[in-house]
Amino acid sequence: MPLILPLLLAVVLFCIGVYGVLARRNLITLLMSFELMLNAVNLNLVAFDAWHADGLATGQTLAVFVITLAAAEIGLGLAIVLLLFRGHGHVDADAARDLVES
């Protein structure tokens, strides 16, 4: 398999995630776009692991670590989003101009 195939797929997924982060309004869809970007990174790690094949499984291990980090990130992110909803009554990224509780 050519190495370029997974790398280009990762580029496309990452840029879709960038578009989602910049363009979406709802904070939870922002977090979903972050997940897409992290998945693109994981794809790169696994592809380079299959290409390099150093016997240490570096890329696969790092991909599992990144998945764990994504779980921690979305847990904290959703807690913050719920806190924002509790204080302001919306989860709009543009309308959240101040983070103090009103």
């Binding site: 280009l8 979406r24 869809t29 977090l31 994981n42 599992v64 719920l82 806190l83």
Partner: protein, 184 residues
């Protein structure tokens, strides 16, 4: 064979990812995220990283998407199509994403255009597990401490201010556990 499988799974992932960022119904976007993450898991399988593919399905589809759906429910996300899901700068965002894709794609093609992944027989969870607990054991432990810290942080963030009565606290405590216990 693996190239064909990878291409199919990758195409599914890209189409579903486009729906995730463009769907007008937020709940549908969350469900398209399941398809996108499943497609990426298929790509991992085609690259002979079966262990990563299984962890992807377990953690992402099993835990993270469920957590996202819980959050959508708790923030009273509307299920009907929304007129304005994107901000006014979405054309600018599309331009940024397209330019970034062009730059990254050109760089990747120039750097790795002729490289090939040598076919391997099969991936094994045993090799990955051995390396995790031999070579990468210190990062693994640091990561578990970080996960614990994130869990405590999420619980601390979900606490309400202290003027609530103890009886109310009890019912909110179960809410806290159900919303933050899903994450690992």
């Amino acid at each position: 064979m693996t190239t064909a499988l990878f291409s199919i799974a990758g195409a599914v992932a890209v189409v579903a990812a486009v729906f995730v960022v463009t769907s007008r119904r937020i709940v549908h976007a969350a469900l398209w995220l399941v398809v996108a993450l499943g497609g990426v898991a298929g790509c991992f399988g085609a690259l002979h990283a079966e262990f990563v593919a299984l962890v992807q399905i377990l953690v992402y589809v099993g835990a993270i998407v469920v957590l996202v759906l819980f959050a959508l429910m708790l923030t009273k996300a509307p299920t009907n199509p929304l007129p304005n899901v994107t901000t006014g700068r979405s054309p600018f965002a599309a331009v940024v994403a397209a330019v970034l894709a062009l730059i990254l794609g050109a760089g990747v093609v120039l750097a790795f255009g002729n490289e090939k992944i040598r076919p391997v027989t099969a991936g094994s969870a045993q090799a990955v597990g051995t390396q995790v607990f031999k070579t990468w054991v210190l990062p693994f432990e640091v990561l578990s401490v970080l996960l614990l810290a994130a869990l405590i942080g999420a619980i601390a963030l979900s606490q309400r201010p202290s003027q609530t009565l103890p009886s109310q606290k009890l019912s909110e405590g179960s809410d806290t556990v159900s919303s933050s216990g899903k994450e690992d």
